[in-house]
Subunit: 407 residues, 2 copies
């Protein structure tokens, strides 16, 4: 597996574009297009929030219909959620306009929106944005990067990842982009993430690979516990790598799944680390668990704890909050068996043995917690399973951003 530069345009036959449609932002790009030269098999996972944005309902229908897709239109600034019938009409018009300017079928056009809930997208700006997008298409990494930037809202950096593998003598590439910073507590999938591949793969294998990997990647991050109305993850495969078709239960499937996992995990961690106001990526690892499910519940509970996140922001080794968060996670374990460690590039330090504090250096703990990536490790000494979850610290920046996001 070779990690390469790039994002959604890394795989063969995929192009991307950005445009400034002024949907809500005055001075930046706010629309993106992913276009495949050949129609793609598509897999997707979507928010479990009962309040579903119009594009989520649209995409789910497209993916479930089995129609092949050639284009994804994304806008930032307005989420097209809680927008009633008008919101659905905007999706229809978006698909029609994209089909017209790209000369493709309307039924396979996918749509993503992110931004404020409750506002309507100005239709004329959206349409002129789609016209611009079609003119701006390109298949190099620069165009992929422009698309990744156009879908940002409160994100501070664009999020891309790409990887190359050999499958049966053919080079297969997987690349993706994502955005997400606030309202991030994915349940089924995350804010907006788009992954493209040129692999030849059966529809069943494509969907299995995505739905299984999501559980360990996008569903294991949290910024603020708020599961968005717009969570969407799409995986498009155009088959242009010409490898022998990947099917479930084969070595090639495992290779593909491992490569997809790298792209998904990388994008997920980038989202967590760029959480609104965050100064650190905060990872929680549970080891010695009896079951994977137990390890995941415990890890996720730690990265969701406001008190723990605030302690990370303050570089304060307030480990009691970590044990407390484990205790209300819903997972069974013996608190008096827990060993707790902090780890970062500044080193590794044990704080707790068998559920109680041991002598440790507060200065060393603070040094470890002052890094850009910080890990808390809890060994619960019950078995051999483990899991990780990713979040970020809770800072004044989060309040600044969210106390008056709409203005």
């Amino acid at each position: 597996m070779e990690i390469i530069k790039g994002g959604v345009t890394a795989a063969k036959g995929f192009q991307a574009a950005a445009a400034a449609a002024h949907i809500k932002y005055a001075d930046r790009t706010d629309m993106a297009l992913i276009y495949s030269e050949k129609p793609c098999k598509t897999a997707g996972t979507f928010t479990t929030n009962i309040v579903k944005a119009a594009p989520v309902k649209w995409d789910r229908k497209v993916v479930e219909s089995g129609v092949k897709s050639q284009a994804v239109i994304v806008n930032s600034g307005i989420a097209n959620a809680c927008t009633g019938k008008e919101g659905d009409l905007i999706c229809q018009a978006t698909a029609s306009k994209a089909a017209e300017v790209l000369g493709i079928g309307r039924e396979g056009v996918l749509i993503g929106s992110t931004g404020v809930i409750g506002m309507q997208i100005p239709m004329e700006r959206l349409k002129s944005g789609i016209e611009q997008l079609a003119l701006n298409l390109g298949d190099d990494s620069e165009h992929g990067n422009q698309a990744a930037r156009a879908i940002m809202t409160t994100d501070t950096v664009e999020k891309e990842a790409a990887v190359r593998i050999e499958i049966g003598g053919k080079t297969v590439t997987i690349g993706g982009m994502a955005k997400g910073s606030g309202m991030i507590h994915p349940n089924m999938c995350t804010m907006l993430a788009f992954v493209t591949t040129d692999a030849v793969i059966s529809k069943k294998a494509l969907r299995k690979a995505l739905s299984e990997d999501v559980k360990d990647t996008f569903n294991m991050i949290s910024v603020d516990g708020d599961t968005s109305t717009n969570d969407t993850l799409l995986l498009l495969a155009n088959g242009m790598a010409k490898n022998e078709k990947i099917r479930c239960g084969t070595l090639e499937y495992d290779q593909f799944a491992a490569a997809l996992h790298y792209v998904n995990e990388t994008l997920a961690k980038k989202m967590a680390g760029d959480g609104e106001g965050a100064t650190a990526l905060f990872e929680a690892k549970i080891t010695g668990a009896a079951t994977k499910e137990q390890a995941k519940l415990l890890a996720k509970s730690i990265v969701c704890s406001n008190l723990t996140k605030a302690a990370v922001a303050g570089h304060d080794a307030n480990w009691g909050r970590i044990l407390c968060a484990m205790g209300y996670s819903g997972a069974e374990f013996d608190p008096e068996k827990v060993d707790l460690y902090l780890e970062s590039q500044a080193g590794r330090l044990q704080l707790v043995r068998d559920g109680a504090a041991i002598e440790y250096s507060e200065e060393k703990a603070t040094e470890i917690l002052s890094q850009a990536e910080v890990t808390a490790i809890a060994d619960i000494k019950q078995g051999t399973e483990q899991a990780a979850a990713w979040g970020c610290d809770l800072t004044h920046g989060y309040i600044d951003i969210n106390a008056d996001y709409r203005s």
Copy 2:
């Protein structure tokens, strides 16, 4: 029902005291004692966190044993949680010392602790604190107030409530005090709350009244989603009102339960409104629900949403976040039927009809959100059930307090 001044000393035969034992705080009182002239029947509810502080385990044993209680010893500063065997020994020593200086049975001494997790309580200071407490006892409201102040940690105000009712021609009084500001997301009960009454009541009725009312009061508040290791609610009844014994299923039971509800709800709302860093008490009300359970899930999800709480802090009517929080609550409802209102002493304003925005004045919305008590009301138009939950706004103050709480 007459609302009266006072707290834990309002009911007949209850005394209270405070003392400065310097357990962790240098310049304030940090221990409290509630003492009843006659032994009390006791009911209690405790944290569901798997990580239970030593005093929680101690109190649960006392309450379950059915032994009558005459004293509650409380300390602030150190929570005696994650303290291993030594933590249990501290509880034993506390009970022994209290029994000795008060001349009561050791088996019925109840204990509450709140503060930092993981540190050990210095035993000699605790013992000398208990000696002081015994000397400082008094039965007036001033002594009750001193006790309510001594148990505060990051609380900014003491929390007391009391009420008087007539039962069968006798005056029955219920009074209580509570503390709680951070790590408040009670599940079974809240941080620390102590309610006393002089009612004559069967043990069964006492426990039923408490356990049923907790579900609608203490379990419906949240400050930060972190369920504490120390949540404890105790209700002591010494029978000194000499009323005919209150039994389940009677009019008198209903009268007692209503009075207890007032005290519990008042204390719970005071805790929510004094959440760490809070500038407003934030209430969420669901009306038109098909079931009470559905209404409670929805209301609680709203007051737990960081994004909604940050919007309240910014006086920003970002109603999409409220609908979003309802959507991931786990309760079924039709988003396209929801009507949403904001209400405070500045007035009432509808923002949403049938799940989409209507024309409304942003200035009026901001005015409503700028008050010290703010309510969001969602009518889901499915039935006649309703519920309320209470939280607070999420501010810079929360970060200030929690990014470096231990120093």
